[in-house]
């Protein structure tokens, strides 16, 4: 059965948590578990979702979970996957939810190991583009120009550059399934979670998840941002499956960045010429992305 918004489970497995209004990360966890269901073993490192999900007396998670060390989501998932294999269980999902810092920075090594061992796990990175739980510090996935508490004037380590490409890092490991998604395109996201649940091996989803607290945006802007980031071309919807990449949306022209950036206080320090430079970087990234899609599907 293909899961859509119409037939999505009414069961809640992540509800009653203490996340901020408009939290994209909490949507990612909630929607994912609606697709995967109650036979899910969850791993979360110390981070926003674990901090807001288990505050006594509210037990927001409706499935069993282990909170791992920050660096260890992939490794704890691997251990669970090994136990699941040893017990001969086939009807369970072993799923991890980690933020961008827990994935692109401190957790990358352990994720790489899990990918390399071809563990039957689902790893979902909810990317809110900084360390939000500790108070908005820059992460390895913070976009160029964004203001955080450790980049108070806007993050400009060099001339504008694209973000770390986690999906292609995953693809380079030869995982069977890796994809981006955005909370602004829920149908695409749900479909990808369903595919991930059917894969006999590691799958990876990198999901755009706005954080109104950290981004200085309105809490009702989450879904609009989730659409806008895709329409501006900053967040391509792409999936890699069994050795071939394909674009889920391939717009001929992108919406200019200005409106997207203006919705978020974190980009307040950007100058017009910098925004133009970011658009050029985006165009370059798309060129490379389209080449990847072309070459991988030709092969």
């Amino acid at each position: 059965m293909t899961i859509s918004l119409k037939n999505l489970s009414a069961e809640e497995y992540f509800l009653g948590h203490k996340a901020c209004g408009g939290c994209g990360g909490s949507l990612v966890v909630r929607w994912t578990l609606k697709v995967l269901g109650e036979r899910s073993y969850v791993v979360m490192p110390a981070g926003c979702m674990s901090a807001v999900g288990f505050i006594y007396p509210q037990m927001a998670l409706g499935v069993n979970a282990m909170i791992s060390p920050f660096a260890a989501t992939g490794a704890v998932l691997s251990g669970i996957a090994a136990a699941v294999r040893a017990k001969g269980l086939r009807d369970v999902h072993v799923v991890g939810f980690a933020g961008d810092g827990g994935t692109a920075d401190i957790g990358l090594q352990s994720l790489s190991g899990a990918f390399d061992r071809k563990e039957r796990i689902i790893y979902i990175c909810y990317d809110n583009e900084a360390y939000m739980n500790t108070g908005i510090q820059r992460s390895g996935a913070t976009p160029w120009g964004a203001r955080t508490t450790t980049s108070p004037g806007g993050f400009r380590p060099s001339s504008p550059a694209p973000k770390k490409d986690l999906v292609r890092i995953a693809a380079a490991h030869g995982v069977p399934f890796a994809a981006t998604a955005s909370v602004g395109y829920p149908t695409d996201f749900l479909r990808k979670v369903e595919i991930a649940g059917s894969i006999d091996g590691p799958s990876f989803l990198h999901v755009y998840a706005p954080c109104p607290t950290g981004w200085a945006c309105e809490s009702d802007a989450t879904i609009r941002l989730g659409k806008s980031v895709v329409d501006t071309g900053l967040w391509p919807l792409v999936e890699w499956r069994d050795g071939a990449a394909r674009l889920n949306r391939d717009p001929e022209a992108f919406v200019p960045l200005a409106d997207y950036l203006a919705m978020q206080g974190r980009f307040k320090t950007l100058r017009p010429e910098e925004i133009s430079a970011m658009e050029r970087v985006r165009d370059g990234a798309w060129k490379s992305l389209r080449a990847w899609v072309r070459e991988s599907s030709a092969g």
Binding site: C20, C48, P69, T150
Partner: protein, 570 residues
């Protein structure tokens, strides 16, 4: 009238308790008082419980009091989670907003007086009004803090937000002040605050950052972690201004190893973290010991083990700081004993690390790191980074040469003729790997001997008072100990305080001297397993009669608990 007054402002996240507490502290400073504000929060970034615990005093303080004179809850949501942190006495006053419902049993149980103050209704009558500002106006009036001081602070802080915001806040303050006229009285601040000398308003984490800068730190690599992050947030712009650099690493393994790289290349280097991060760093701190690479690690301790209680304090990283490295790995551990002392302790640690070519761990904690204090300007100290480097082209350069002091010249990469390999493998004097027993022994002796032979002066401990009773303590618990001893002295009970600043290397001879004539020892610490007491037992001879006050976090140790023990012993 008393020399100090304590106020707890509480509420759900977003109710403005922290803002009100901060303004109260700043206003007290403005009016010439000393002060201290600690924070109590849940682990989440927003929406949990929050308490601003403020103590205002006419004399310098570094401890919370035994109870709060005034409790102002902006709402009762989540209050049960931290009611144990809000001790009240029968003379305390609770300003309760009837709109928020009855005083919950966990608070009512203290038997304090309760007065109704319709915070929300009063704020609601003012366009743009906020209950926390009404509460602040009432508090200031009740404790005798001039409302003009509060308005002066607000005017400065709200300057950028425009006239309307300021007018609304001022109106709220005045409404609160008027309402206070009809309320029962509480202890008032003395009318004549202490002097008008230049005061500082600083947190322990900021003070640690300043100590690092003054000590000569030029390179910082670190990874965000509560409650240490403010050290980085303060240092990032400060380093930029002073010609240094801060790099945010991808994890703690990277931070500590970047720091090793920075130091190897010649720059005084530092990282800051908390327990989980220190755990990850221990292998590399061992490399710094073996390769004799100076560096400083600030550990702002929080409740452990594992993720533990990230937003609250505990003195339970002592064991890992002292014993956490594998092998025989002598290093320096320094513990500041107040928010103010974070400056000196960190600056001194930079000096020690560089002078001794060793890693130095600074054991701060959440209670002092995230406390904001109003203090007299600290005295300057001359401790800076001074590394022994060889002459260029010195013939027969040996990086790990055995010297009298145990410290050997450390070449900076690029110095002509002084190439060497810094190594975690055991090595000989030249730095060449060696598994020979004689080289191992010689280098172990060198690394231990250089720490033992060094003159740490009087800074190894803060020793105050006299008597046959000694209270041995360390870290932020020193604040309540100092206050308890002062109170006991006023009642004719004499006791001596020994607050250990230099945890490693140990100073047995100095301790023996300090304990001369002492017949009874009280050890005070904040850990479940008595880590400090066991540490003292392992390294020092304590006189026969020893009593331990030890409790895990997050409840702070209060002066009265120690005072009672001292009185019982008299």
């Amino acid at each position: 009238m008393s020399y100090s007054i304590s106020v707890a402002l509480t509420g759900s996240g977003g109710a403005g308790a922290m803002t009100a507490g901060q303004i109260l502290l700043d206003s007290a400073a403005q009016a010439g008082f000393y002060g201290l504000m600690t924070r109590s929060m849940g682990p989440q970034i927003r929406g949990g419980e929050a308490a601003a615990l403020v103590r205002i005093s006419s004399v310098p303080i570094s401890s919370l009091d035994d109870h709060y004179d005034l409790l102002v809850p902006f709402d009762w949501g989540n209050i049960n989670r931290f009611s144990a942190e809000l001790p009240l006495s029968s003379s305390s006053l609770i300003l309760a907003d009837p709109e928020q419902g009855d005083v919950p049993p966990s608070i009512a149980g203290y038997g304090a007086r309760v007065a109704a103050l319709p915070l929300k209704a009063l704020a609601g009558a003012i366009p743009g009004g906020r209950a926390n500002m009404v509460g602040l106006g009432a508090v200031a009036t009740l404790i005798g803090l001039p409302i003009a001081s509060v308005i002066a602070v607000l005017t400065k802080q709200l300057a950028r937000k425009g006239e309307e915001v300021l007018a609304a806040s001022t109106a709220c303050l005045e409404a609160g002040a008027q309402a206070a006229a009809g309320l029962p009285s509480v202890t008032k601040l003395p009318s004549q605050p202490h002097g008008e000398a230049l005061r500082w308003n600083i947190s322990g984490n900021e003070a640690a950052g300043l100590g690092a800068l003054r000590g000569g730190i030029k390179f910082v690599a670190a990874y965000p972690i509560t409650p240490a992050t403010e050290v980085l947030e303060w240092l990032a712009p400060a380093l930029e201004k002073t010609g240094g650099a801060l790099v945010q690493a991808e994890d703690e393994l990277a931070s500590i190893n970047m720091v090793i790289g920075g130091s190897f290349a010649g720059l005084p280097s530092l990282t800051a973290t908390s327990g989980p991060g220190l755990s990850l760093m221990t292998e590399s701190i061992g490399l710094a010991v073996a390769s004799e690479t100076p560096l400083v690690v600030i550990d702002v301790m929080r409740g452990g083990p594992s993720t533990g209680i990230p937003t609250k304090s505990e003195q339970s990283d002592l064991n890992i700081a002292v014993y956490g490295l594998h092998g025989d790995a002598p290093h320096v551990v320094v513990a500041p004993n107040s928010a103010t002392d974070c400056l000196f302790a960190t600056q001194w640690s930079v000096h020690l690390a560089e002078a001794l070519q060793t890693p130095a761990i600074v054991l701060s904690d959440q209670a002092m790191g995230q406390s904001r204090v109003v203090i007299d300007k600290p005295a300057e100290n001359g401790f800076v980074a001074q590394r022994l480097v060889p002459e260029a082209d010195a013939p027969g350069y040996q990086r790990y040469a055995l010297t009298n002091s145990g410290v050997s010249p450390m070449a900076i990469p690029g110095m002509a003729g002084n190439n060497y390999v810094a190594d975690g493998l055991e090595h000989n004097e030249r730095g060449t790997p060696s598994s020979q027993a004689s080289d191992h022994l010689a280098q172990l002796d060198k690394r231990a001997g250089k720490l033992d032979a060094f003159d740490y002066g009087e800074h190894w401990a803060d020793i105050e008072g006299d008597g046959e009773i000694a209270v041995i303590t360390w870290g932020s618990v020193t604040g309540p100990v100092r206050e308890a001893i002062g109170r006991a002295r006023a009642k004719g009970i004499k006791a001596k305080m020994i607050s250990l600043r230099l945890i490693l290397p140990t100073r047995p001879a100095q301790m023996q001297e300090a304990l001369k004539g002492v017949k009874k020892v009280l050890v005070v610490e904040q850990s479940h397993s008595q880590q400090f007491h066991k540490f003292l037992r392992g390294h020092y001879d304590l006189p026969g009669d020893v009593l331990v006050v030890s409790r895990p976090g997050p409840l702070p140790i209060r002066p009265a608990e120690i005072e009672t023990r001292l009185a019982a012993w008299k």
